[in-house]
C-alpha cells in the first residue's frame, strides 16, 4: 500500500508539468466537425434537470441539454447565455434581464420570458437546493415582453451575487412541458430533459448509458462540433480508468478516478490530467466540531486539535500536487472574495496543542488518554477516508482517542446533520463562487436540524450572524468583499469548523479533445465548442 502510494507520488512531477502547460499549443488548429465524445458517469442521479437539482452529477449531463441565463467565461466573469444583458436598480431590489431572441426549445417552441418566470418562481424558489435560499426574497418575475424578465426582490439582491450564483442555479426549463402537468418533481421530462442547449436528449438506459445528439438548430451558428455525447455509467473507479485506456471513455470529470490511476495516466501522453477547468468547483476538507461535547465547546480544545495535525505532511504524502493548505472558508481560487488577511492560522505545533489541552483542564489519565471522540468521515472521496485516519493517529499523539465511525452517504448526513450523533465530522465544503451560496450556511445560526451541510454544531455567534446577514444584502461589491473578509477572520478565530485543506477537482481527459477545460466550470458547461481531433 505504501509502496504504491509512493510510486504514485513519484509521478507528481509529471503531473505538475501538465498543470503548467496542459494544452500543448493547439491554438492554430481548425476545429473538425463530428465524432462521439464519451464521458465517465460515476453516480447516477434520480433526475437530470439542473433547474431542480444543483449538483455536478446533474450538470455533467443536463448542462449540455439545458442552458442558464449566464455562465462564467474563461476569466471567471459572468457572460450571457440565454440572457444578453442585465442591470440592477440602485436599491438592488429590481434586476432586469434582456433575453436572447430567436432561441427555440428542442421541441421547436420558442424560448420566452414566460419560461424564465415559471422556472424562477416554481423551480428555483421552491425546489432547487441552494436556489430556495438564494431566491428566498424573490417576490415576482415580471414579463413586460417576451424577451424581458424583471426579477423583483423584497430585500436588496447584490447583482454580483446573483450573477455568480446563476451559472449553477440559473438553468431554465420549458414552461409548456411542466405547467399544469402535475407534480414538477415527478414529471417524466426530468428524465428526458428538453432544453435550448447544443445537445438534444436521445435516450437514457439506467445503469448503462445516456445519449444526446447534436442540436442542428442551436442558436450559436455552426455549433456544436460534436455529433453525439455518450455518458457511460461506470461505478467502479479502476474499471473506469481501464475503459479510458481502452479508448471507450474520453473524459472522467470531477476526480472520478482513484488518486493513483490519475497519477499513472498523467504520465501517459494519450491523456491530460489537470485541475484546469474546475476552478469554479473548489472544495475544502473540513473538521466539524460538535459543541454538545463539553470538551469541544472549549475553544482551547478546538485550537489544540488544529495545532495537532501536520497538514503539510498529510498533503505531501497522501494528496500530492492537487491539494494545498487551506486558509479559511473562502478558498484562494476565489479572486472576488479571497481576503488579504485570513485571521488566525493553526500551524502544526504539538507542544502548543498539549499546552492548550492541559490549560483546558483535560489531563491525561493513567493510559495517557485525556478523552475519547467519535469521528464520522463522509464517504465522498478517498482523501476524506485517509484524512480521518490521519486525524485519528495525530490526535492519539496528544492524548485524544478517536474512534472512526464510517457510514454511507445517507447514513452520514442523517447522523451528523439530523441526529447530531458525532463529536468530530470530516467531509467537504463546496465553495460555489460566492460565499452566500453555500458557505455562510455552515456558520449562520438557526438552521433547522436535518439540513445537510449547515451549522448543526450547536454553536451560535451573534457577531458572525450579523456579518452574514449584512453581506447578503450589501449591494456595493467592495463593501461585500470587506464583510466576507470579516466573516473569514471571525470563522477562523472561533473555529466552529476548520478548513485546513483546499482542493480542486481533477480532470482526466483524452488528449484528442480540443477546446476543453476552457472555463472555470467546464465539466458542467455546455461544450458547444468542444471538438475531437482525428
Amino acid at each position: 500500500m505504501d509502496m504504491t502510494r509512493r510510486a504514485a507520488l513519484m509521478t507528481s512531477a509529471a503531473i505538475a508539468a501538465n498543470v503548467i502547460n496542459p494544452f500543448r499549443a493547439f491554438a492554430q488548429e481548425t476545429p473538425q466537425k463530428g465524432g462521439v465524445f464519451t464521458v465517465h458517469y460515476g453516480a447516477e442521479q434520480r433526475q437530470l434537470n439542473p433547474s431542480l437539482q444543483a449538483s455536478t452529477g446533474v450538470y455533467i449531463i443536463g448542462g449540455k441539454i439545458q442552458e442558464q441565463l449566464v455562465d462564467l467565461d474563461a476569466k471567471g466573469q459572468p457572460v450571457g447565455v440565454l440572457a444578453e444583458s442585465w442591470e440592477s436598480s440602485a436599491d438592488g431590489k429590481t434586476i432586469t434581464f434582456k433575453l436572447r431572441k430567436g432561441v427555440t426549445w428542442h421541441d421547436g417552441k420558442p424560448f420566452t420570458s414566460a419560461d424564465v418566470q415559471y422556472t424562477a418562481m416554481e423551480m428555483w424558489k421552491k425546489i432547487l437546493n441552494y436556489g430556495s435560499t438564494l431566491q428566498l426574497f424573490l417576490t415576482a418575475v415580471d414579463t413586460p415582453d417576451a424577451h424581458t424578465a424583471i426579477f423583483r426582490y423584497e430585500r436588496p439582491m447584490p447583482l454580483n451575487l446573483l450573477l455568480r450564483a446563476l451559472p449553477d442555479l440559473g438553468y431554465i426549463s420549458p414552461r409548456h412541458l411542466y405547467e399544469g402537468k402535475g407534480d414538477i418533481r415527478q414529471n417524466q421530462v426530468n428524465l428526458a430533459p428538453v432544453g435550448t442547449g447544443p445537445f438534444k436528449f436521445v435516450s437514457y438506459e439506467r445503469g448503462q448509458h445516456i445519449i444526446a445528439d447534436r442540436n442542428a438548430d442551436y442558436w450559436r451558428p455552426n455549433l456544436p462540433y460534436l455529433d453525439r455525447i455518450v455518458w457511460r455509467v461506470v461505478t467502479d473507479r479502476a474499471a473506469a480508468a481501464a475503459q479510458m485506456e481502452a479508448g471507450q471513455i474520453h473524459y472522467s470529470p470531477f476526480s472520478g478516478l482513484t488518486i493513483s490511476d490519475s497519477a499513472r495516466l498523467a504520465k501517459d501522453p494519450r491523456f491530460i490530467v489537470s485541475t484546469k477547468g474546475n476552478e469554479g468547483n473548489a472544495r475544502t476538507n473540513t473538521v466539524e466540531f460538535n459543541f454538545r461535547r463539553k470538551e469541544l465547546a472549549d475553544i482551547r480544545v478546538r485550537r489544540a486539535i488544529a495545532h495537532a495535525l501536520d497538514i503539510p505532511f498529510f498533503i505531501e504524502n497522501f494528496l500530492g500536487d492537487f491539494a494545498k493548505r487551506g486558509t479559511g472558508p473562502v478558498p484562494s481560487v476565489s479572486t472576488d472574495f479571497y481576503p488579504a488577511d485570513n485571521g488566525p492560522q493553526y500551524p502544526f505545533d504539538k507542544a502548543t496543542a498539549i499546552k492548550l489541552l492541559d490549560e483546558a483542564g483535560f489531563k491525561p489519565g493513567a493510559d495517557g488518554t485525556r478523552f475519547s471522540l467519535r469521528l464520522l468521515p463522509a464517504p465522498w472521496g478517498e482523501d476524506i477516508s485517509l484524512f480521518a485516519t490521519f486525524i485519528q493517529q495525530s490526535l492519539a499523539a496528544v492524548g485524544i482517542k478517536v474512534e472512526i465511525v464510517r457510514n454511507d452517504g445517507g447514513g452520514f448526513l442523517k447522523q451528523v446533520y439530523a441526529d447530531h450523533a458525532f463529536d468530530l465530522a470530516s467531509g467537504w465544503h463546496q465553495y460555489r463562487n460566492d460565499p452566500a451560496v453555500s458557505t455562510t450556511v455552515w456558520y449562520r445560526s438557526g438552521q433547522p436540524a436535518g439540513a445537510p451541510w449547515t451549522n448543526q454544531w450547536n454553536w451560535t455567534d451573534p457577531t458572525i450572524d450579523k456579518i452574514i446577514d449584512d453581506a447578503a444584502t450589501e449591494v456595493d461589491p467592495a463593501k461585500r468583499k470587506g464583510l466576507y473578509g470579516d466573516f473569514v477572520r471571525r470563522a477562523n478565530t472561533e473555529l466552529p469548523i476548520w478548513t485546513p485543506i483546499e482542493q480542486i477537482f481533477l480532470t482526466v481527459i483524452n488528449a484528442k479533445a480540443r477546446n476543453h477545460s476552457n472555463t472555470p466550470r467546464w465539466g458542467s458547461a455546455s461544450w458547444h465548442d468542444l471538438w475531437l481531433a482525428k
Binding site: 444543483a54 452517504g409 433547522p448
Partner: protein, 325 residues
C-alpha cells in the same frame, strides 16, 4: 401428476419463508441510519429542511415502521411491488429492465462452469495423482483463490487495453447502434470477459467436487462389476460413474444459482453491466426499500424455480429419490 404434487408442496412451503425473508430485510434496513431522502440529499449536495419534509411525506416515510411494513405486505399480496424512489418507475419495470443482463450472465457463466468443471473433473479423476490431475487441480486452486475483481481487471488490462480484442466494459456498443444479428454478436462479445471472470471461479469449485465424487464412485462395487463384465473404460465412466457422480454437482448448481444472482455485484461493477446485483447494491446505498425488497422477492422466486428444476433432475438421475419419498 407426482411432479405437480411435488411442485405444489414446494411452493406452499416456500411462501412463509419468502415472507419471513422480506420482513427480515425490511426490518434490517430500518437499522441502517438515514432513509431514501437522506440519500437523495447526499446526492444533491444539499437542500433545506422543508424540502426534506415534503419528500418524506411523498415517499410515505412519515408513517410508523409497522404501518410502512403493513402497507408493503398488503401491496405484495396483490402482486404490486410498489414504486421505486430512485428510478421514479414501478419496481417491476425497473427489475424487468435489469433481468436480461443478469440472466444472460448467470446462464452463460453457470454453463461454462458446469461444462468445463465436469470435463476437467473427470479428466483429473481419471489421471489421479498424475500430471493431468496436478495441473488441473493447481489451476482450479488458482482460479478459486483469485479475487474476482482482480481477475476481471487483469482480464481487461490484457484483452482490452494491450491486445484490444474485446471491449473493456458495458453491455453493448452504443456509439454505433447495431441492429439484429450484429447486435447479438456485439452483446456476446461484451459478455466474454465477465462470463470468464465469474465462470472460472465457479468452475474451480465444480471441478473439485466432480473430481472428488468421481473418485468416490469409481471405487464402488458396481463399477468393479461393470469392469468385470469386460466393459471398456469409456463406457464405464460415461454410463455408470458419471451419472452417479453428477448428483452433488446438481445440488451445488441449485444452491449457487441464488448466490450468482445477487453475488455478481463485483463483476457487474468491474464490467459496468446493468445487472440485478448492482441494482441491489445501489438500492441499499440509496435506501430504496421498495426496489430492494422487489429484488429479494424476484431472486427468491428464481431460486425456488431453480431448486424445483434441480429436484426434477435428481429424479431423472437417480430414480430411487422419487420412489423413496
Amino acid at each position: 401428476m407426482r411432479i405437480f404434487a411435488l411442485a405444489g408442496r414446494r411452493l406452499v412451503a416456500s411462501i412463509p419463508t419468502l415472507f419471513l425473508i422480506l420482513i427480515g430485510v425490511f426490518l434490517l434496513l430500518q437499522f441502517a441510519p438515514g432513509d431514501t431522502v437522506d440519500a437523495m440529499m447526499a446526492q444533491m449536495g444539499g437542500g433545506d429542511a422543508a424540502t426534506a419534509r415534503d419528500l418524506r411525506r411523498f415517499y410515505g416515510l412519515d408513517l410508523s415502521v409497522m404501518a410502512q411494513l403493513g402497507n408493503y405486505l398488503w401491496r405484495l399480496v396483490r402482486f404490486d411491488l410498489g414504486f421505486s424512489a430512485i428510478y421514479g418507475k414501478p419496481v417491476a419495470t425497473v427489475i424487468a429492465e435489469r433481468l436480461p443482463a443478469t440472466i444472460l450472465l448467470m446462464v452463460a457463466s453457470l454453463s461454462l462452469a458446469f461444462f468445463f468443471g465436469l470435463i476437467l473433473g473427470v479428466v483429473a479423476a481419471r489421471g489421479v495423482n498424475r500430471w493431468p490431475d496436478t495441473l488441473i487441480s493447481t489451476l482450479g486452486l488458482v482460479f478459486y483463490a483469485m479475487p474476482t475483481f482482480w481477475f476481471g481487471l487483469m482480464a481487461i488490462v490484457v484483452f482490452s487495453i494491450y491486445l484490444q480484442w474485446l471491449p473493456a466494459g458495458g453491455f453493448e456498443d452504443i456509439t454505433i447502434g447495431y441492429q439484429g444479428l450484429r447486435r447479438t454478436l456485439d452483446i456476446a462479445q461484451h459478455l466474454v470477459l465477465p462470463t470468464l471472470t465469474l465462470g472460472l471461479f465457479y468452475m474451480a469449485i465444480y471441478l473439485r467436487i466432480m473430481r472428488g465424487s468421481m473418485l468416490e464412485v469409481l471405487n464402488l462395487d458396481f463399477v468393479r462389476t461393470a469392469r468385470a463384465k469386460g466393459m471398456d473404460e469409456t463406457r464405464v465412466v460415461v454410463h455408470h460413474v458419471l451419472r452417479n457422480a453428477l448428483l452433488p454437482m446438481v445440488t451445488l448448481i441449485g444452491l449457487q444459482a441464488g448466490t450468482m444472482l445477487g453475488g455478481s455485484v463485483v463483476v457487474e461493477s468491474v464490467f459496468s453491466l446493468p445487472g440485478l446485483g448492482r441494482l441491489a447494491y445501489e438500492s441499499v446505498i440509496q435506501r430504496d426499500l421498495n426496489t430492494l425488497l422487489g429484488i429479494v422477492f424476484v431472486s427468491a422466486l428464481l431460486v425456488i424455480v431453480v431448486n424445483f428444476i434441480v429436484d426434477l433432475l435428481y429424479a431423472r438421475l437417480d430414480p430411487r429419490i422419487t420412489t423413496g419419498t
